[in-house]
């Protein structure tokens, strides 16, 4: 198979665009998709300092690599969750990437170790507060990510969410008619109040397969194994369902999510509406000062519960 744009051998066929591309043309395709995402949602400029949330997986490391390559000022944050071998291995991957790739761009890595800072790994914390591990993990990561962004003066935080993630989440939200969540499912959430940093998802136009292909082509050494807690997640079920539909009619995921975004944009500036609502609802947490809609933020509530449980247990 030959590249559609030049005569070199193709390395990937993308049925949704009805095109096969060689290494160089595919790389250009990926960069173009990221540039389009950044421009069309006014995510950031080359003046902004970006904080990328990295997990050691393909999406986040690839995002960091692309942003640096495109000339953006991007540092990263890794949250060590203390989940056995998975955390040890993923942390190694992130560290190696930092030393071998990011260092050349003078980019920095921040590491937050949950076991060290909060006194227990994420699974132990979840047990203490009687919540599912992934929910506890979500609260922890969101909190630490925002804290570092605000404390260290980053203009924007970026995550590696891709088209499959967003389409699967949209499917889940639609199946349960979670309209509140639908409003928030945009690739760019503006900063709200002083305490919440702006959030962006520059990879939302690319599928997981395209991102993994980019990682393989550019020798980005990521952790292929999944977090053991992800087993049996709803998201996986939605993704498999969507991929089966995608096989039948290529472009399904793209149309599903991007049409949703178009409609949302037309439904007048949804993001402004959210920012306005947040501004009305949020105030500083009584304990830590980060923005929250309750008196004490969910992170502080969770940690107080964990400390209490640890003392009585």
């Amino acid at each position: 198979m030959r590249c559609r744009k030049c005569t070199h051998p193709a390395v990937i066929k993308m049925p949704r665009h009805n095109i096969s591309l060689c290494k160089d043309c595919f790389t250009e395709f990926v960069h173009t998709q990221v540039r389009r995402a950044v421009k069309s949602h006014r995510m950031f400029t080359t003046d902004d300092r970006i904080l990328v949330a990295v997990s050691g997986g393909k999406d986040s490391l690839t995002l960091w690599a692309i942003l640096m390559k495109l000339g953006y000022r991007a540092d990263a944050l890794y949250v060590d969750l203390g989940i056995g071998d998975y955390s040890i291995l993923s942390r190694q991957k992130v560290q190696r990437f930092t030393d071998t790739v990011a260092a050349a761009y003078q980019a920095n890595l921040h590491v937050h170790t949950v076991e060290q800072e909060q006194g227990a790994g994420i699974r132990e914390l979840a047990t203490l507060v009687h919540r599912p591990t992934c929910a506890t993990c979500g609260t922890m990561k969101r909190y630490q990510f925002n804290r570092v962004a605000v404390e260290q003066d980053y203009d924007v935080m970026a995550t590696g969410h891709n088209l499959d993630d967003e389409a699967a989440r949209l499917l889940g939200n639609v199946l349960h008619w979670q309209t509140d969540y639908l409003d928030k499912q945009t690739p760019m959430l503006p900063a709200s109040l002083d305490g919440f940093a702006k959030k962006v998802k520059p990879l939302y136009r690319l599928t997981e397969r395209e991102i993994a292909a980019y990682a393989v082509i550019h020798q980005i050494d990521y952790i292929v194994d999944e977090c053991p807690m992800a087993k049996g997640s709803k998201m996986l079920a939605y993704k498999h369902a969507l991929n089966r539909l995608e096989a039948e009619s290529p472009g399904t995921k793209h149309t599903f999510y991007l049409t949703f975004l178009d409609r949302q944009a037309k439904q007048q500036e949804a993001t402004e509406k959210i920012a306005e609502q947040d501004r009305q609802r949020l105030h500083p947490c009584a304990t830590c000062g980060q923005p929250t809609s309750t008196e004490i933020c969910s992170y502080c509530q969770m940690m107080a519960k964990a400390v209490g449980a640890a003392q009585h247990g």
């Binding site: 198979m1 193709a10 390395v11 990937i12 066929k13 096969s20 997990s55 997986g57 393909k58 999406d59 499959d164 993630d165 599928t207 997981e208 397969r209 991102i211 993994a212 292909a213 393989v216 082509i217 020798q219 292929v224 194994d225 999944e226 977090c227 992800a230 087993k231 997640s233 998201m235 996986l236 993704k239 498999h240 991929n243 089966r244 995608e246 096989a247």
Partner: protein, 89 residues
Amino acid sequence: MTAASNGSSTVHCKPASHGLMIRPAMKVLVTNPHQEIEVPGPTRVQQLLKRLDLTPEAYLVIRGDELVTDDTVLEDSDSIEIRSVISGG
């Protein structure tokens, strides 16, 4: 285009052995869940995925350390990785 891809070619996941003659086969590593299998070549990438009942959209096929497209013919001497690209987060 090899002569081997005519009509009735069947891919067995275990190589058939005829007496002492053991056919060579390509080594295939599948990730998530981790699995190592042997498949006799030659076979096209497309055909290999179909035989293993894997959705092309959820996998990349890597020969050595190069990506290959679905029309690529894989040989017995090839070392293949079928890498899952779906994450659960």
